[in-house]
Amino acid sequence: MNGKVDRMGTTEKYWKPRSRTWQLLAVFSYVAALVLNVLIRPAIEVDEVPFRVLLAALAAYAGGRYLLSFFSEKIAVEYNHGSQFRFAVGMLLAVWDVLSSKTGVLPLPFFPGPAQIMEVMFLEWRVHLVNTLYSLRLFAAGFVAGSLCGVASGVMIGWSDRWNYWLFPIMKVVGVIPAIALVPIVLIIMPDTFSTAVALVAISAWFPVAFTTARGIRAINRSYFEAARTLGAGRGYMLRKIAIPGSVPSIFTGISTATGIAFSTLVVSEMIGARGGLGYYINIAMGWMNYASVYAAIVIMAISFTLVLTVINAIRNRLLIWQRGLVK
């Protein structure tokens, strides 16, 4: 059985051929990384226990999935498909560990090893947690406000020809300005740095959402409105029951774009004047030449932003349940 190697004409999600060897190598790679870490003495002073715990946890998870795959076909298929990737991750961690902490081939302090990053995370977990929550609070406030304003103004511009005439050209020009460029102005208007950052995140989320919402409403098939009219619907009812639900797919296209832009605005605005948050933390750590902390913050950012995207996708899939299976 040959694996599918391109996306032409295949709809299979799991296409890697069944291989017991790769399944075992996946578990083995984490164990090997752990054994290597224990056997080789580090060239620098570092507490390696957190990294070892991580490797042991990864090995245990992979091993657990491997064992479960004997009982569940679903897990077996998923595990088999991912095993080559797991193997690569394990090997990469091992190589990185050897090149950094163990031998010092990678120049310090700019390129610390995984053991040093894990050490920092373990030692400063409280600081990291506080800063992460600070960032997420700022993001949530700005992003929710920006998206809501975006949907509201997008609906107005999409729905009313008059609003569209006056506001769409303005939005097109104002919307492309990066929010960060507005820092000097927003700083004057807003009372403190936190609300400045919230406003900047809100502005960067606003434009993509407003733009796609307006376009989405304009793109709704006219015949839906005609059908609604012949069924006795008034303007307000059509706005609520046709225009808004019909533009939800477009609204989420905007929200997806907005998330990425809002993340960068968040980090940059934290770097230039906040009193907390992951961006602020990176700035401080960089000042102390503490690169392990910088990488730790980047890893935490990757994880927490991915979680945010997952939540947004879950909401989207719930709201767009009517679209599932529709021709794309």
Partner: protein, 277 residues
């Protein structure tokens, strides 16, 4: 045939007391213009009277204005000249009393079959009063068990039945059908033709059907209106008033079908000449 005689034929065909008409189209013209003022005459001085409870089909080649005429009656569009009366009142906009079924079922994809069928009741704020109707109309459309499915999950025939139920739940006085069966395969189409007759008899509503299928028009209608394009006008009114249930292979059916074809041939020869210029 000149415009005057068509108009005369149309008015001779109906009795003189207005209230017995369901739909009256009086010397209606509709020209579509683009932003630069270039116009296409979709309807030129068209008159037509439809009696209460009558089943009338509008047939003709594409571009003859049959859909435009139907949209004027629905109130989805308005004429530049003339007027449309429904039960004696001029049409100024859409109304739930004139149900409209489109060629594409046009169900709202974000609503379930049940929500689609209940749409008219909710839009008019009478849902609480007629709540029980929803299940009845779902049953009538043969969609029991599919209440919670979304339009993309059901077949074209089912979607069109749902669309009919959605229009009928408002208990319209006139049902306007714009090639509702045009996009369906022939088996589903015949099946739905029966359903249509059954519903028409049950609701005793006036039905105006736009179609390009001569057999369909002959099988279903009391009267057939043949239209010709450029400019769109009525060229012939044919009585198809023979007893139901009808048989597609009966001598009467075949004869009527041939008569329609013959009229078409005459009209067609004329438009061929136009193309040749």
């Amino acid at each position: 045939m000149s415009e005057e005689t068509v108009a005369a034929a149309a008015s001779n065909d109906a009795s003189p007391t207005p209230p017995s008409f369901s739909v009256e189209v009086k010397s209606v013209s509709r020209v579509f213009r683009d932003s630069y003022g270039n116009g296409v005459t979709a309807l030129d001085n068209v008159s037509l009277s439809v009696r209460k409870g009558e089943f009338v089909s509008l047939i003709g080649p594409s571009g003859c204005g049959k859909t435009t005429l139907l949209r004027l009656i629905a109130g989805l569009d308005s004429p530049q000249e003339g007027e449309v009366l429904v039960e004696g009142n001029p049409v100024t906009g859409t109304s739930h009393e004139r149900g409209y079924v489109f060629q594409q079922a046009n169900l709202f994809p974000w609503e379930t079959v049940e929500e689609n069928i209940a749409f008219g009741l909710k839009a008019r704020g009478v849902y609480d009063q007629y709540r029980d109707d929803v299940a009845e109309y779902i049953e009538m459309a043969g969609l029991k068990g599919f209440e919670r499915t979304y339009p993309h999950q059901i077949s074209g025939g089912m979607a069109q039945r749902a669309s009919l139920a959605r229009a009928l739940i408002n208990r319209p006085k006139a049902l306007l059908l714009d090639e509702p069966l045009g996009a369906l395969d022939s088996f589903t189409r015949m099946d739905l033709q029966e359903k249509l007759l059954e519903l028409w008899q049950k609701f005793s509503a006036t039905v105006i059907l736009v179609t390009h299928d001569i057999d369909e028009a002959v099988y279903l209608s009391d009267r057939i209106v043949i239209m010709t394009p450029r400019p769109g006008k009525i060229s012939e009114l044919l009585d198809a008033d023979y007893p139901r249930p009808r048989n597609r292979s009966s001598a009467r059916f075949v004869e009527l079908r041939n008569r329609v074809l013959e009229k078409f041939h005459l009209a067609g020869a004329e438009s061929q000449a136009e193309y040749a210029i």
